[in-house]
Symmetry: C2
Subunit: 360 residues, 2 copies
């Protein structure tokens, strides 16, 4: 049973404006780790010792296809799956699974997000290897991140009995909890974060979709039939928009039985905002993450990112400011406190309202 | 007795970095009032109803000559006096006075800074007219600004008895006082700010220089003699660097007798820092002075200046920040609290220390 990966790289996302744009979303930006490596490329690279690029499929949007191919020269172009329009993760995973299953009905598949940061890559691969073993045994398996704080921004997984090989039964998937419940989860020690990583035999996932998302199953069968006639591209444009726009969590995981979870502790961060980017960036003695050549006078805890094209960088000077995010691109400049990182959406909304779609 | 003006436009100044540079100092920037008019041009324009451009001399540095000429197309090129090197205001005023006196020994001269803002131009001209009348009577006359706060950054003038025509005798010039003394001055009602504006018959100033700055007087006579031989340019390069580098205040005003002062109240501001630029700028309902197209979300009291060349401006977005100065130029970006405006020098020092003279 060969192992394949499906990297979900269709995200848009406005939380990293002005660096992120519709045609240059988060996964195509170097937001954490190596400043010369975009998150998507890091995802493929860190997986390579387990799953070579030839068996890595990238699920992305049609409008991101070229940029995605440029970011991943080692992935064969035919492995790039372009969704005609975004329909959430269930159709994405369903279509990718069906596509791989046509080539290799015995495939075991690892589904991974494209835009997360992982601090300890060895530990990550060891965890993934355990999850793959669990998936080979027939169980749809997920990785649960050991929670480090009562975060209300993630879904949680309640961990049940040990299944051997480092896997545990999943008691249930729970949606993003309120503060109190999140504290209970973290204190109780039985819950882990749902990081959106899934491992399964192709046949197991297709069976689960049959059982819990029949509309998706019907669509996937239509695509299979079209592919057999050599007409998949045309069928995709017709069928994909009709698939139910639902997440794999809601559509399958929360309903399926006999799921497994492998616990993970490898410096995971979903790089959710400029605040996270600051947390993950190398910093000077005053907590500033600055581009080379920047000048900071009595300034502390700032994140400065110069994402302009070209080699002639501006000198960026901070005097007497603390905990700011300053991001410069070729057509925009953002200044805000790190603590307001979520509010960058308000800027995108303002640009939308004035019809400045070129900058969002 | 025709009236001439000498505009002192040799200033360098680092307080408006990154907008100001060695070759583009404060007076050549549109820092207050009309955003399309540099301070020097405003100085000449507001004087024009009293003193036409043909009788306005501009004292500047050799390296600023071309930029100064471009800023003042209405001033004849031969009226631009280029100092080979900066030697403070006494040599500047002495040389300009001697030069004008050669053409017109009966000249009355108004000496004005080139980089101040004046809110009420009518009131300014009325005050200048009174100072000119006082100067015609033979007294070296200055304008004293009615103080609005106990500022320790200005010299003060103690006002004596009335001389008629709105002029008063000067009791004495006093240097920048400490806080306590400044409060006493403002509370006492007998002190005004020295704004560096001087009015005199050419003959009166040359006599005062003879009396109080003999080294300067000797140099000026050498220049006169050279000019009579048609060799002023060569003599200037030799003589100017030997003149005593002293201010007109220290060198003449604090020593001379029989000085007059005319009180002025015309919205004067010396535009001393980015903080002053914010004070003088038109602001929105939240106290922000922003370029058109900027986006401010829950932001208050900020000054944003986009001084990049070219027409394709960046969108500058502020989220949740208050009282900041954000200045963007083609090769630099500055972010600091308005209250730290004086500390911009530290950035210039840092650039100097790393040898980045192109940006200072």
């Amino acid at each position: 049973m060969a192992v394949y990966a499906v990297i979900m790289a269709g995200g848009a996302g406005t939380r990293f404006w002005p660096a992120s744009r519709a045609e240059r979303p988060k996964q195509l930006l170097p937001l954490a780790g190596d400043p010369d490596e975009v998150l998507l490329a890091a995802t493929v690279r860190r997986l390579a010792p387990l799953i070579p690029a030839a068996r890595v499929a990238i699920a992305t949007g049609a409008r991101l296809l070229d940029a995605t191919a440029r970011a991943l020269p080692e992935v064969p172009r035919e492995n790039l799956l372009a969704e005609p329009i975004p329909r959430n993760t269930a159709p994405c995973i369903g279509w990718a699974t069906a596509t791989i299953a046509r080539r290799d009905p015995d495939a075991v598949i690892a589904v991974l997000p494209s835009d997360h940061f992982i601090g300890d890559e060895e530990a990550f691969r060891a965890t993934v290897a355990r999850a793959i073993e669990s998936a080979r045994d027939g169980r749809i398996t997920t990785i649960g991140i050991l929670p480090t704080r009562p975060d209300t921004g993630y879904g949680y997984i309640e961990v049940g009995r040990a299944l051997g090989g480092g896997a545990y039964a999943v008691e249930r998937f729970v949606e993003k909890p309120g503060r109190e419940l999140a504290e209970e989860y973290v204190g109780g020690g039985r819950h882990v974060w749902n990081a959106g990583m899934f491992f399964f035999r192709a046949s197991a996932m297709l069976a689960a979709i049959d059982a819990h998302l029949p509309a998706l199953a019907t669509g996937l069968r239509a695509l299979d039939a079209a592919a057999a006639r050599g007409e998949e591209a045309a069928a995709l444009a017709d069928v994909f928009p009709t698939l139910p726009a639902i997440s794999i969590d809601h559509g399958v995981m929360e309903k399926a039985r006999d799921l497994a979870v492998v616990k993970g502790d490898f410096g995971w961060n979903d790089v959710g905002s400029w605040e996270s980017a600051w947390e993950l960036a190398p910093k000077d003695a005053h907590g500033n993450a600055l581009p080379s050549g920047a000048i900071a006078v009595d300034a502390h805890g700032n994140l400065v990112r110069d994402m302009t094209a070209g080699s002639a960088r501006k000198v960026i000077a901070l005097v007497g400011v603390d905990d700011l995010v300053v991001v410069e691109t070729d057509d925009a400049l953002l200044v805000m406190p790190r603590g307001r990182a979520q509010d960058v959406r308000a800027v995108v909304d303002a640009l939308k309202a004035r019809g400045d779609t070129g900058r969002i």
